[in-house]
Symmetry: C2
Subunit: 307 residues, 2 copies
């Protein structure tokens, strides 16, 4: 049993109302691996970095049980770089700079040693590349989860539609769900998206929690009410890592267990936003995680007497 | 044991993306009474209407167990009228017309027969009048719950601050909580508001559910994911009616039971938005209500295995 993770490993520079970071480690696959490795190893990572990506970051991931055979290192090129500024409403952000660098001509290759992966997490990225990874898998994985964003709906919609037919779970935020489905109501948006392929749709609403849809079933998960969201960068990827990490660990892909996976993902994301970049994800212990999950249980637990 | 409800009884004219109503029955106290009377009677209503308010509406309330001795009928004047238009995002609305009419020189009087009320619900309205009702109570009620809105923060803030010192629970929506507290984070907003008087703060977030704060305790309630919110008018008042109705029925004002009260309020509000005005509130049965509350239980219920 193992988990294949595909996505970017990159540098970010972030501004929020609370502060500003230098060039720090980021990327969807970095956050996913840091989160999921708390639940399942090995993680079989597929990504690409430049010669500027620190060896100690790679070593740190290895120490967590992340295999890097599928991570291409292009020594004479630079890593992907993204810079952005968040508003007071952290659901809003402006991209200040995007430098594709190594991503410009990236062709992911799935190593033979990754072929046994039963769980696949496709982090946000070019839909054709996400699909390429999936097509290289010789055996159909038990569960394929993917993330995407509005940019791909605007620039690569037909590739995205083809990919959606081959995935089991789509993770999107509320505005992305509305854009993808052309429906304002999130209930209708989820139904429309399920008709496009995924049997499960998770709609992330930031501070308002997340919704899980499957057929006519719905589950609502809260977000932890926080005094301060310091930096939301990577929160969605960290959620994805906790979600698929829990599913891969328990080997149970029922709707009931997906509810738990959403809570685990939400708990992991609630850590991520407490400090800049990946800082908080490197500090937390198993005990911290269990305590945080218990906070979520307490947050929504009620016992109603209607007699 | 009885419940005193203070607020407007009025006419509304409503436009939503889904349709447009004629002049229909509305008003905070109308919605509160229609909702709360499913849980507790008698309800001792304090309000004012003009000669244009239909006798059959008053008779209908009486048939539900709503006492009207405290409702002044000014035969030669007109009832309060509000007209508004909702946007596709139903959290946004424009007021098209407001005619104060009977509200212009209203002085609420608490009848002697209302003095035994142990639960008091102050619907949204002029803070000085809400306070006047409270001051007329000879015995301190067990629980005073109030609703307010941003308009009063802008026009009657000192009256509102004086009133807040005398209430136990404040119900506000998220933008009102931010405005009242001058805090963006809802956790900080709730703490600030609790320092102004109320021991409990309920922040309503429409389709994103509601938060209950008390000291360091927090509870998150979902909203029912709906395909369509037909008309949100009165949803907040209907929530308030279910909330205090459940508390008055169970005579239990613990934090634990307030969680249940929030779920009951949320369930009642989820009916209200299904049709224009008070239409849906007149149709629902006790069985409908119990089924809807069970839907809320199922919506958030999860069983997590962390071993």
């Amino acid at each position: 049993m193992s988990l294949l993770v595909f996505g970017t490993m990159a540098f970010d520079a972030i501004e929020t109302p609370f502060g500003k970071s230098d060039r720090i480690i980021g990327g969807a696959a970095t956050y996913i691996a840091l989160s999921a490795s708390n639940f399942i190893t090995p993680i079989k990572q597929i990504s690409v970095v430049g010669g500027d990506f620190p060896q100690e970051e790679l070593d740190h991931l290895t120490s967590l049980g992340v295999h890097l055979e599928g991570v291409q290192i292009k020594k004479d090129q630079k890593s992907f770089f993204w810079s952005g500024r968040y508003h007071m409403d952290m659901n809003e952000r402006d991209t200040l700079d995007t430098q594709l660098n190594v991503l410009a001509d990236f062709n992911p290759v799935v190593p033979d040693s990754y072929q046994d992966a039963e769980f696949v997490m496709l982090g946000n990225g070019v839909p054709a590349l996400q699909h390429s990874v999936l097509k290289q898998m010789k055996n159909k994985p038990r569960l394929v989860v993917m993330d995407t964003m509005n940019f791909w709906m605007e620039t690569a919609m037909s590739d995205l539609e083809a990919l959606l037919k081959d995935v089991d779970v789509l993770l999107v935020n509320d505005s992305e769900a509305r854009q993808l489905s052309a429906q304002f109501s999130l209930v209708r948006a989820a139904k429309e998206i399920m008709s496009m392929g995924p049997k499960y749709v998770v709609i992330k609403k930031g501070e308002h929690g997340a919704l899980l849809f499957h057929g006519d079933q719905v589950f609502v998960a809260p977000a932890l009410p926080l005094e301060e969201v310091f930096d939301p960068t990577g929160a969605g990827d960290t959620f994805a890592g906790g979600f698929i990490g829990h599913l891969a660990r328990t080997k149970d892909i029922s709707f009931e267990n997906m509810k738990s996976a959403i809570i685990v993902g939400s708990a992991m994301a609630s850590f991520c936003v407490e400090k800049f970049g990946t800082t908080r994800m490197r500090e937390i212990s198993r005990e911290d995680i269990l305590n945080r999950i218990q906070q979520f249980v307490d947050l929504v637990n009620f016992d109603i007497n209607l007699v």
